[in-house]
């Protein structure tokens, strides 16, 4: 089992959700976050004065998948979230020790 964390552009969330549900991913957790990478921030103008926005708004997805589904999931996120411009985001993959479904007490792959 793997735990996938993807940070993507907010406007790509719908595309990514669709790509993942098409793939058969059963669930995900989504959070609005802010941060910066190579894109750094950008400048905006308010009442004639420029100011820096250091942290860009992004969306963070958290998805737990069975070991054999990791590669297609990452692939689907990468393709759906890509615009080709700086700031498209990143996908992190972590090991996942255990999952418990709260309603039934099922564990491991059965809880996915």
């Amino acid at each position: 089992m793997k735990f996938i964390i993807a940070v993507i552009k907010p406007q790509k969330l719908d595309d990514v959700r669709k790509a993942l549900t098409d793939l058969g991913v059963e669930g995900m957790t989504v959070t609005e976050v802010k941060g910066f990478g190579r894109q750094k921030g950008h400048t905006e103008v308010y009442r004639g004065a420029e100011y820096n926005v250091d942290f860009m708004p992004k969306v963070k997805l958290e998805i737990a998948v069975a070991a054999d589904r990791v590669a297609p999931t990452i692939d689907a996120i990468q393709k759906a979230a890509q615009t080709g411009r700086i700031g498209d985001g990143k996908v992190f993959v972590l090991g996942l020790e255990e999952i418990v479904r709260v309603r039934t007490g099922e564990t491991g792959d059965a809880a996915l």
Partner: protein
């Protein structure tokens, strides 16, 4: 404005039914035979004008509140709401206790009115042609408008109670004394022929001078001009700021239209209607000018400066909304739009922190609107206008500065650095404007 009305209503009352010898500029009406209204209907319409105009001017307090709440950061939003509803209420009480009789208890050509509490008295109502209470109400909401101007400039860093003490002095003494010089038929009216129809100088510049004195004494928000540059502090809600501007625009029809001070004759009705159109045109021109100028200057349209453009146009036309032709009204409003677009960055350069742009919109555009009156109204002279602007400016600025300094060295004006950083909502009120998102 009162002198203007008295002359007209008296002229009407004394005249036999038939032709109304109107002095108002209503173009087509001249030389026409017009049906004469009864004294009762004149009285009812005059009084209604005061009451209905007064209600929409009262609502301008909500407009100022929304404009200001939208342009402050969310950590100070509840405090600005408290200040706005409190300043309106303090103004109401002070105009009752001191203000009204200071304005209208003055002798012709005099310098100061009577110190006397106002009370219900309709003994001269029939002679005047309107209910006395309706006039009190209409004047009271004007005074509140001047106080609203101050709160926006000083937002996010001034302590609540010292601010309200200043408001009490402004609305009970400073505003009434200078207003009496013109609207109470004091010396500015008699000796200088100063003209200010609805208060570009008497209301808006007065609020603006008080705000400027306050901004100088109080200093800029922490971090606003640090590091040798101007640091923007974006407002929390531009939709609310826009709503506030629309409310102010609506209120201005009462502000300027009501300042005709009479609706009881066909001539007055035509004048009020003409004032509505000119008022609207000036605001439209202010917006379009600011829209184009910010696009040219900054490469993008700057919404909050465009909102100031509407206010700038409205303030500019307020000194004389009746006599301008349509092109003149557009020109007067457009220059208001130019003034705000250039004055907002200019104040920043002088490190004067005006959170909502009240000084450019109300003070600078108020001066412009007052000085341009002779262009369309031959009864006014540039010298007389200049005298009014300077005399009222010096008086209001000097007294305000003294009061702000006195408050600074007694109670203290400014919230502590820690409180400013935390936000005045938590520090002064112990609450948050948007608690459901605050801990997210």
């Amino acid at each position: 404005m009162r002198d203007y009305k008295k002359a007209l209503t008296n002229a009407f009352v004394k005249m036999a039914p038939g032709v109304i010898a109107a002095t108002v500029v209503t173009g087509a009406a001249h030389g026409q035979e017009m049906p004469a209204p009864s004294e009762a209907s004149t009285f009812v319409f005059n009084t209604s004008l005061f009451l209905i105009s007064g209600m929409v001017v009262m609502f301008m307090a909500a407009g100022f509140c929304m404009l200001e709440v939208g342009l402050v950061r969310s950590k100070n939003a509840a405090t600005i709401c408290v200040k706005n509803i409190a300043l309106y209420s303090v103004a109401g009480i002070m105009v009752w206790l001191l203000g009204y009789n200071l304005i209208y208890g003055i002798e012709e050509g005099g310098f100061i009115g009577k110190f006397a509490v106002w009370g219900f008295d309709e003994s001269e109502a029939l002679e005047n042609g309107y209910a006395a209470s309706s006039d009190w109400y209409f004047q009271m909401v004007f005074v509140a408008t001047a106080a609203s101007i101050v709160s926006g400039t000083l937002a996010e860093r001034i302590k609540l109670f010292p601010f309200l003490i200043f408001v009490a002095i402004l609305t009970g003494l400073i505003y009434p004394i200078q207003a009496s010089w013109k609207w109470g038929e004091g010396f500015l009216h008699t000796a200088f022929g100063f003209a200010d129809f609805a208060g570009s100088t008497l209301v808006h510049s007065t609020g603006g001078w008080a705000a400027l004195a306050g901004a100088l004494v109080l200093g800029a928000r922490k971090g606003r001009f640090e590091g040798g540059r101007v640091n923007a502090m974006p407002g929390s809600s531009l939709p609310l700021a826009t709503l506030g501007t629309f409310i102010l625009w609506l209120g201005w029809f009462g502000f300027n239209g009501g300042s005709q001070l009479a609706l009881g004759t066909i001539d007055h009705a035509m004048s009020v209607a003409r004032i509505f159109v000119n008022t609207n045109m000036a605001a439209c021109a202010g917006v379009v000018t600011a829209l184009l100028l910010t696009q040219l200057r900054f490469g993008k349209v700057d919404l909050t400066i465009v909102l100031n453009g509407a206010i700038g146009g409205l303030v500019a036309i307020t000194a004389e909304p009746l006599t301008p032709t349509l092109p003149a009204a557009v020109l007067i409003g457009a220059v208001g739009g130019v003034i705000v677009t250039f004055a907002i960055p200019l104040l920043d350069r002088f490190k004067i922190d005006d959170v909502v742009g009240a000084i450019p919109a109300h003070l600078f555009c108020g001066i412009w609107g007052t000085l341009v009156v002779p262009l369309t109204n031959s009864d006014a002279t540039l010298l007389g206008q200049l005298a009014g602007v300077v005399i009222i400016g010096v008086f209001v600025f000097a007294v305000s500065l003294a009061v702000w300094l006195a408050l600074k060295f007694t109670l203290g004006l400014r919230a502590s650095e820690e409180h400013e950083q935390l936000g005045l909502d938590k520090a002064e009120l112990g609450l948050e404007a948007y608690p459901e998102f605050a801990n997210g």
